[in-house]
């Protein structure tokens, strides 16, 4: 039978949503949305994303068997159930890259390293702490200050040949550090590369802590597509003697939403079997 499930990932920076159709192992995308939150109410935005996808797929709400939320989406009123980010990113990673044995989710404010097995089971994980130093948000602010578009960050950073390290552990003070660097004539590529390296160092450390030591590390989240960060990560991992390979996928940003949708479909069947579908949450 065909199961329709939706995954909605409510992040701090953006909302990602997908609708999936699955027939056993066979799954296919029906629709997707990625909305920056900016100044809007995330819950309303989630609804908008869901409605737009229903529109696009010509489905009605009750034709969707399971709406799974993830990220900060516990309070989404139309959800059937909720999976926590690392659970869904793990599954999403396996979906997009079956060889992945760990996931690095790099979002607007948090970084998370998750060690997984071939079935997408979470074995160990670690998050960055409460302090937002070296987050996606920080990078975004700096890029704006330097007058660099988000899509240019990566390629510029790769040109950095003499990276300048950011000394402050605080993201706010680091901003001043960066201004200081500009005043000393450090070039944008070197500044960006410095930031990337310091972020990468932190992220690689997370990977080491979860003892991710073989296979592929799948990059998910908004910064997964930043090739500068990817390069810096590979460098940092080599330096830390981590023999793993960082890979991302054009749909990396959606991996949380995908994972939630896949788990949603799975849970739907399980609950059907158990005959408890009514109280699915």
């Amino acid at each position: 039978m065909t199961t329709i499930s939706a995954g909605i990932d409510v992040g701090t920076g953006a909302i990602k949503a997908v609708v999936f159709e699955s027939r056993g192992e066979d799954t296919q995308w029906l629709a997707r949305r990625n909305f920056k939150i900016r100044q809007r109410d995330p819950l309303k935005l989630a609804r908008t994303a869901f409605d737009e996808m229903l529109d696009e797929t010509d489905l009605s709400e009750d034709q969707v068997h399971y709406v799974a939320t993830t990220g900060g989406g516990e309070n989404v009123p139309f959800a059937t159930g909720h999976f926590y980010s690392m659970t869904s990113h793990a599954r999403g990673a396996i979906y997009l890259e079956s060889e992945a044995r760990s996931v690095l989710d790099i979002g607007a404010l948090h970084g998370r390293a998750v060690k997984i097995d071939g079935r997408g089971k979470v074995l160990a994980y670690r998050m960055t702490s409460q302090c937002a130093s070296g987050s996606g948000q920080f990078l975004e602010n700096i890029a704006r200050y330097l007058g660099i578009a988000q899509s240019e960050i990566g390629s510029l950073s790769l040109q950095g040949d003499d990276p300048e390290t950011v000394s402050s552990i605080c993201a706010v003070l680091a901003e001043t550090d960066v201004i200081n660097m500009v005043s000393r004539g450090i070039t944008a590529p070197n500044i960006l590369r410095g930031i990337h390296l310091s972020m990468a160092g932190r992220l690689a450390k997370l990977l080491r802590v979860v003892k991710a030591d073989d296979g592929i590390v799948f990059l998910s989240g908004g910064l997964a597509l930043d090739e500068g960060l990817r390069g810096a990560l590979n460098d940092s991992m080599t330096k830390m003697k981590l023999k793993i390979d960082a890979k991302s996928h054009p749909d990396s940003a959606f991996s949380g939403a995908i994972g939630a949708a896949v788990w949603g479909a799975y849970r739907y069947h399980k609950l059907l079997e158990q005959g408890v579908l009514e109280k699915a949450s």
């Binding site: 450390k205 080491r208 802590v209």
Partner: protein
């Protein structure tokens, strides 16, 4: 500067260098010598007792300091953190554990033997207890605990003293006998204690020499070198006696020649500020840190860090006539085993007796034993001495927590503040 003093200056330093090198040599050649190694901590370290059993004394704090000064500690700490040790705990512990996992190489480049005995002198610091539990957890060495009760009311009670002595007699000494195969000989201990006391006299003289206005020593940055032998594996040895005799001679000469303290660059030109410092130094940027002082003409005339491994300037001496009692008294009296009112008294007296311009607190992130309460101590000292105080925050061996710009900003502001105050007093 005269040629002569240059030569003399170097002789105590060379002596010390040689002593340390010899000790590491002995530690790293136990495979050949068959000697046993006891690891223990600087506060409450029972070197005289360890020597009675022909054992070598290995101090993990000192190893961490060495690694800090060689800028190796950062990587070791990260290594330990990766293995699940928290960012929040003492970095000495993590540097030590990191050193182990990196092959446990001594500063002389040779592998350090696993200790035969962990002598857990639980004196003045909670972390000690878990530190050795962690080492035992990873290496499974024999461990013996010596609990030194905290002098919460500022006095050493009979119950405390007899508890320590009892542990020495019934647990520590038997464990040492077992590990070393040597029978305990109290006369040997008395002999060692006699030597300790002799060296201690000269150490106290050296530290007090800073009472001279135009102090011949820096009692913090220089002080950490002066306390080296007596706080580590040399208390109770012949070498320590010789070292302190030579050191005293050198300083007598400096006083005569009206010289200021030795610094890494040159003798200090002018003594502009006299400070008392509370708290351990930072080791990863020790030189840069020191430079911030001598560049501005600031001399530290007294410090509490030079009392962590034993407080001698208040009259205590190791006493060959009461060997175990005096070991107990020694442990109970270490600086961080004293209650806060007592620590404040010491600081106020230092500010007054050494004619200091004020108190500087270097608060160490790692060390709750030192740091918890320092802000209040500072307020009390300010109030009681009438001298201004300043507060900086660094860490022992974690380079991530030494922010040079920050520390410099504060020190500069502090010195300018003292200066301004002074000009005002002069004007009045």
């Amino acid at each position: 500067m005269s040629k002569e003093s240059e030569v003399v200056k170097e002789s105590s330093m060379l002596m010390q260098k040689e002593m340390i090198a010899d000790n590491y040599e002995a530690l790293t050649s136990t495979a050949e010598s068959g000697r046993k190694v006891a690891s223990t901590f600087v506060p409450g370290n029972l070197n005289e007792l360890i020597m009675c059993f022909g054992m070598l004394n290995n101090l993990p704090e000192i190893n961490a300091i060495q690694n800090g000064m060689r800028k190796k500690s950062g990587a070791m700490i990260m290594d330990a953190e990766r293995n699940g040790h928290s960012e929040d705990v003492c970095t000495y512990v993590k540097a030590d554990i990191g050193q182990m996992s990196k092959g446990n190489i001594a500063p002389n480049g040779k592998p350090m033997p696993a200790p035969d005995l962990l002598l857990l002198s639980y004196t003045g610091c909670f972390t000690f207890m878990k530190w050795f539990e962690l080492l035992r957890h990873e290496h499974g060495c024999e461990t013996v605990m010596l609990q030194v009760p905290y002098t919460g009311d500022g006095v050493i009670t009979d119950n405390m003293r007899s508890y320590v002595i009892k542990q020495l007699k019934e647990e520590v000494i038997p464990a040492m006998e077992r590990v070393s195969g040597v029978k305990f000989d109290i006369d040997r201990l008395r002999e060692n204690l006699r030597r300790s006391a002799e060296a201690e006299d000269n150490l106290v003289w050296v530290l007090e020499s800073a009472k001279n206005v135009r102090s011949p020593i820096d009692a913090y940055f220089g002080g950490v070198y002066y306390i080296g032998p007596i706080f580590t594996a040399f208390r109770g040895t012949r070498e320590a006696i010789d070292y302190y005799r030579v050191l005293r001679g050198e300083i007598e000469q400096r006083i005569e020649q009206q010289l200021g303290p030795v610094t890494p660059e040159d003798d200090m030109e002018e003594e502009r500020y006299r400070l008392v410092v509370e708290g351990p130094p930072n080791w990863t940027s020790f030189r840069d840190f020191w430079k911030m002082f001598y560049d501005e003409g600031a001399v530290v005339v007294a410090s509490t860090y030079t009392k962590v491994g034993g407080v001698y300037d208040q009259g205590f001496r190791h006493d060959p006539d009461h060997p175990l009692e005096s070991l107990a008294e020694y442990c109970l009296g270490c600086y961080t085993n004293r209650n806060l009112p007592n620590r404040v008294d010491m600081l106020v007296n230092y500010v007054n007796d050494f004619q200091a311009d004020g108190l500087l607190v270097n608060s160490i992130k790692s060390c709750n034993s030192f740091s918890a309460g320092q802000l209040m101590m500072m307020q009390q000292v300010e109030k009681r001495s009438g001298k201004p105080a300043a507060f900086i925050e660094t860490d022992l061996v974690d380079p991530r927590y030494f922010s040079a710009a920050n520390v410099k900003n504060r020190l500069e502001s502090y010195f300018q503040m003292i200066e301004q105050k002074r000009s005002r007093i002069e004007a009045a």
